[in-house]
């Protein structure tokens, strides 16, 4: 008995024959090779099983003839053994491999952001009109001093403070270097190799125009990005791809990647097929070899070891801010406390919904905790321990809209990072096939005929528009809250209320239920 496969196709490609002008553009556009163009009958013939529902053909069909339908094959209903699970079992029975997926956890867990509501001013303490009033969106990320030493010029009293109005004060404390963001939205790390160079170019250009930061991910920084390096955070992960002293010097800050929301506890693995010449030059590894970046840094087994790497990077970069990226997991508050005590200037919390990265399905869907919980517990823990000033909190992994940014900041984050949303702005249709390297939109692939589809200037303008729009929306939210600076919203959980959350979750979030 030999079947090719039990697995039915997920989608059906439906072509309206009357509308089809037989141009063959669908076949030309599809990165998954769904279509073969029948030269005799002059019509495209789809192989439904290959369709990822990425809508590239739909968008580019001049006749508007294509629609993609769900392949609604009936399975005997079971609340336990869903068709998705049955198909996964078949696939693994056929291959014996670990199932891969991409684009973050899509399971129907509680979305806490959607159960948090923001406050607004009415009558007293009136709201502020963001159309007329300036709204301060600028944010500084980095370590703030524990205390300030001030010297007075001229005569001083016993405390060193000038008693006269004419005396001027000088700040003696050497402030740590900060990252200056013109909007509290930055871009999360996505490596060149996983995404295309044009994605990196787009994000670098967008970050420069927006006055924020893009993050190289762990795959090194291509030479084309050098003009934008003041707005680039370079990442250093366990595989050390592309890391040398000039790379570290190039970035505005360095991020140590311990974990990522897409796959907490799992390392990176870029298959050899994706390592073409340019990727190999940027990662500084030979073409065609697997790029293995295991979960543990083999030089970090303790907070002291992490501290050693943080300070090695500081020594190597002239004391630039060092960010440490961790996935949100059960003991995230204690872990974050250790990371901050290790000397991190920024702690990047990546929630379990996040992740553009390819990931084993079992990890993506079952490991980690929501970023909302992590922000609240980490912020509280650092406050309780009196070390909140030592590091800024960046929240990522499930930031889908400006409201999420506002809520994350109200929960205690200093800024948010987006990955998926930025890719969607550039054409990503969240088909979750990032790991295949066939991305028809030229985002998550290295095939030159596909990557050339993303024009970096267009990509940058899309992302700039998105972040401008979100920033305007944040200004509206601030106005409604009656404050005129993002700083005034930070950690202001009193301005949040929970709706439909249980008491324990509300306590953990430090948020009152709606009505109180």
């Amino acid at each position: 008995m030999a079947y090719t496969t039990f697995i039915p196709s997920e989608f059906r490609v439906v072509i309206d024959k009357d509308a089809c002008i037989q141009c063959g553009r669908c076949a030309q556009q599809c990165g998954w090779n769904v279509y073969t163009f029948d030269e005799v009958e002059k019509r495209p013939v789809p192989d439904h099983s290959k369709c990822a529902a990425c809508h590239r053909c739909v968008t580019f069909c001049p006749g508007g003839a294509i629609s993609i339908k769900k392949n609604d094959l009936a399975f005997k209903h079971s609340d336990s053994m869903s068709p998705d699970l049955i198909k996964a079992i078949w696939k693994q029975a056929e291959t014996g491999g670990v199932q891969l997926t991409g684009m973050g956890n899509d399971r129907p867990y509680l979305r806490i952001f959607d159960h948090l509501l923001l406050d607004a001013c009415q009558v007293t303490n009136p709201s502020i009109d963001p159309l007329r009033e300036p709204m301060e969106m600028r944010t500084f990320l980095g370590r703030k001093p524990d205390f300030l030493d001030v010297a007075a010029d001229g005569p001083t009293d016993g405390n060193g403070v000038s008693p006269t109005a004419s005396g001027t004060l000088r700040l003696l404390t050497e402030l740590d270097r900060q990252l200056q963001l013109e909007t509290p939205i930055m871009f999360g790390g996505m490596s060149y190799g996983s995404v295309s160079l044009n994605v990196h170019r787009s994000l670098a250009m967008a970050a420069t125009e927006l006055g924020t930061f893009m993050n190289t991910g762990e795959g090194g920084m291509h030479a084309d990005l050098e003009p934008y390096q003041d707005h680039i955070i370079v990442q250093c992960a366990s595989g050390r791809f592309g890391v040398d002293s000039s790379y570290l010097q190039a970035g505005a800050a360095v991020e140590i990647k311990i974990g990522q929301g897409a796959k907490p506890g799992i390392g990176g693995h870029l298959p050899g097929e994706k390592i073409d010449y340019e990727v190999s030059v940027t990662r500084m590894i030979p073409q065609g070899t697997d790029a293995l970046s295991p979960a543990p840094h083999h030089d970090i087994y303790s907070i002291e070891d992490l501290r050693q790497l943080i300070y090695a990077l500081k020594e190597a970069t002239g004391y630039k801010p060092i960010s440490v990226k961790i996935a949100c997991v059960h003991n995230v508050a204690a872990i974050a406390s250790g990371v901050v005590r290790a000397g991190a200037d920024i702690i990047y919390l990546d929630g379990f919904r996040g992740g553009t990265g390819a990931s084993p399905t079992v990890i993506r869907d079952h490991v980690g905790i929501p970023v909302e919980i992590a922000i609240a517990t980490v912020d509280q823990r650092l406050r309780d321990e009196g070390i909140r000033n030592r590091a800024s909190i960046v929240a990522a992994g499930g930031i889908r809209q400006s409201a999420d940014v506002a809520k994350a900041i109200a929960l205690g984050a200093d800024a948010c990072a987006i990955g998926t949303a930025a890719l969607v702005a550039m054409g990503c249709h969240v088909c979750q096939k990032c790991h295949t390297g066939c991305c028809s939109w030229g985002i998550c692939t290295q095939r030159p005929e596909l990557t050339r589809r993303l024009d970096p200037e267009w990509g940058a303008s899309q992302v700039v528009n998105l972040v401008h729009a979100w920033t305007h929306e944040l200004a509206e939210v601030l106005g409604a809250l009656g404050v005129n600076a993002i700083e005034s919203l930070r950690g202001s959980r009193e301005r949040l209320r929970g709706l439909g959350l249980d008491k324990m979750t509300l306590d953990i979030l430090g948020v009152k239920p709606a009505g109180l």
Partner: protein
Amino acid sequence: MIGQGQEERAAAPDSAVVRNVPTGPARKGPTGIEPARITAGQPGTTRGTASRKGARVVIDGKGVYYKTLNEQIREEIERGATEVVLDNIIGQRYIGTGLAFPGVTVTVNGVPGNDLAAFMNGPTLVVNENAQDGVANTMNSGLVVIKGDAGDVLGYGMRGGSVYVRGNVGYRVGIHMKAFENRQPLIVVGGHARDFLGEYMAGGEIVVLGLGPSGGPVVGSYVGTGMHAGVMYIRGAVDEHQLGKEVRATEPTETDQARIRDIVADYCRVMGMAPEEVLQEPFVKIYPYTSRPYGRRYVY
């Protein structure tokens, strides 16, 4: 040139000696975790503008905080010093870290702390005694010479240059080492190496000579686990059970033998040893059998 003429040069007229005032107890933050930043004008920092062009500079490291010490090293080199000698070093970390000055020699007298020569790019760094963990972490180019033993995780992610150790090394040495085009990292260990040598190695060369008092096998267990590029040459015997799943052991070819002779010759020149004696014992070559060890693990 390494290891020669240092005594003569100590008396050279262009020498400069930097004396440090001990910083005393560092001021700590409210939680006592870390000393406050050393600001200009505080004791412990020596600032000058005189040219040190081509000079040999001696820095007394006694009681000097590592950050100050490394600032001084950088400053002396930026002022033109081509040789910096550090005396009385006791555990200061990050010596030579991020140092990117080819043609400069830094000599360490005493035992330096962790992450010596991390991200280093170009200089020659000589340690006359033992070194600790994390030597040459992600080093890019240059030469590190350790006259004594070195600790764990030496040469992590190293992508160029050479590290020569006279004595033994600890665990996880040379892991994630990577080669690319003209950047070919090399680690030569005179003594023995412990477990996980060359784990996840993705390029470059590791040579272990097994010289000195024997404390068991030349290399530990799990040699080359996850290794997918590069090569190791081990002088003496390596048992099958010591190897990681992704590597095989074989006899070196003629080309390998020539390469071993070159490596040993340079190592012995630097260490002041006789290469003939080292080359008397046969070597074992350890190599990965695939560049894609985990290629079949995943389904798409």
